[in-house]
Amino acid sequence: MGQLSHRSRPEARAALLFAFPALFTLAVFFFLPVLAAFVMSLSDFDVYSLADFRRARFVLFGNYARLFHDPLFWKATLNTLYFVAVAGPVTILLALACSLLLNSERLRGAQFFRLAVFLPVVTNMVAVAIVWRYLYHPHFGLINYGLRILGLQPVDWLGDPRLAMPAIIVLAVWKNFGYHTLIFLAGLQTIPEDLYHAARIDGASWLQQQIHVTLPQLSRTVGFVALLTAIGYLQLFAEPYVMTQGGPLNATLSLVLYLYQQGFRWWRMGYSASIAFVLFALMLVAGSAQFLLRRAERL
């Protein structure tokens, strides 16, 4: 690597000066808070400690032990995993299909369609969740009106504990699949045309070409996107906050929503910090699963 000057000590000083604002900010608002959060998760920091930090006492792993016996925490964890396990694959499969469609040479105006599917991605989750809350309205909502036209019974989407989470999943898929579609489109454009040509000479049908050429060529992109999706979906918050407040019967209570309620509504900040570390652990599991899969693939 070429460098600006060969006098090493002044150079190091100059580099540190340039990096200082960023390093200082990251240290104060990121590195130290991670440590502080862990210490907090070992304490009974609550509303009384908020006035005077000295009131907090160490409880070691007491918070984590309490989580283990907290049915609401388990409910939130299972809800979150349910959301990730369904919304994740559905988003990715839909995006794969869409990217194949939008990548077709015969499609005119592909640019317009790309922008259209990407529009939900850049818009605000709160605003969009409010719009969908009305679309899901049991009496006046357009979704139930559509069902009625098809001759089906209207349903109380956000009021039925069995349907509330699926309703949120549909919203999340709608909001996010455009992002995945664009990433897959970028991946599709890197696949050499020769491969398809060779497959066609071998008499492969369109579907066979997709299975034997596209999918293997795209597998790295899909793996990367799957990890990003899992990490993003584990942080489910705004949708239930706006649409259901975690209800009905806690059917849409997510881990981050529970963490927020414990920490910033009831000011049980020590307990809340321990939920944050469980969330972090789940993300690490997702990350290492992806890592192991990639290694297994290479073997």
Partner: protein, 278 residues
């Protein structure tokens, strides 16, 4: 021969139909939001549902601005989005420059430490940073969002990556002409890095505008709400006022849609570059 062409035409029609349905499903909620925002009170809550207003009205836009001080929330969101973008652009590009064009001991190790922290979710640091800001009396101030958002590891990484690809000869020439480090940064590095900086600024702007959880925690006084926080609060009080809520949603969504449509080239480049996200 004829049958073949006919089949091809049919296939093409099906393709365009599928794409059109896809676009409609993506855009329909926005179209309905826009339409309902121009309806008279109660018009969006009838059966069968109306798709277009009978006589369009701007009364909800007026009500939000005059009665519910949405202008103030809009301003808060705008100040924060512009402020965070400008300051973080400066801080991240300086650090990216330091990590790309200088050599010092422990550089590689320091950079790997920075990168490895990208997996730590914001929800972990949220509680201590909240207490710190409370202690510094920065809750309910613009600084409460501006200061923690000043530096981002991803931003530093992207700038470094971009500068690594630029030849050092340009900088060397300036140095021989007697330019100091600051002059090199300001007059050579920043102009050269313009494409990546534009992309980064755009992502930061959109991300800050759309952020919800952190402003919800930091801004508890009503006059400091950002648009999404105000909207979520308004939802609690005005649930039956569909048309009013849709108007608030339009005001929150429209600026970003306009910015995105105008600068889509820069935005999409960020996506191609590998998973940039709000």
């Amino acid at each position: 021969m004829r049958g073949r062409r006919w089949k091809k035409g049919l296939l093409s029609a099906a393709l365009h139909l599928a794409a059109a349905l896809l676009a409609l499903w993506s855009c329909f909620p926005f179209l309905w939001m826009l339409s309902a925002s121009a309806m008279h009170p109660g018009e969006a809550s009838q059966f069968p549902p109306r798709l277009v207003p009978e006589s369009p009205t701007l009364e909800h836009y007026r009500a939000l601005m005059e009665r519910l001080s949405v202008g103030r929330y809009f301003l808060n969101s705008l100040i924060l989005a512009i402020g965070v973008s400008a300051v973080s652009l400066m801080v991240n590009s300086m650090a990216g420059f330091a990590f790309s064009k200088f050599s010092f001991r422990g550089k590689r190790a320091l950079f790997s430490v920075l990168l490895s922290t990208m997996i730590i979710p914001g929800q972990v640091t949220m509680l201590p940073v909240f207490l710190l800001l409370k202690h510094l009396h920065l809750l309910n101030t613009y600084f409460g969002i501006l200061v923690p958002g000043m530096a981002s590891v991803l931003g530093i990484f992207l700038v470094k990556q971009y500068l690594d690809g630029l030849p050092d000869s340009l900088l060397e020439a300036a140095r021989i002409d007697g330019a100091g480090n600051w002059a090199i940064y300001w007059r050579i590095v920043l102009p050269l890095a313009r494409p990546i900086l534009a992309t980064l600024a755009l992502f930061t702007f959109v991300g800050t505008w759309n952020d919800f959880l952190w402003p919800l925690v930091v801004m508890t006084r009503e006059d400091m709400y950002t648009l999404p926080v105000a909207l979520a609060t308004l939802m609690g009080e005005h649930t039956p006022d569909v048309e009013l809520m849709m108007t608030g949603s339009v005001l929150t969504v429209a600026p970003i849609v306009i910015v995105f449509l105008l600068l889509q080239r820069h935005y999409l480049r960020g996506i191609w570059m590998g998973g940039l996200r709000e």
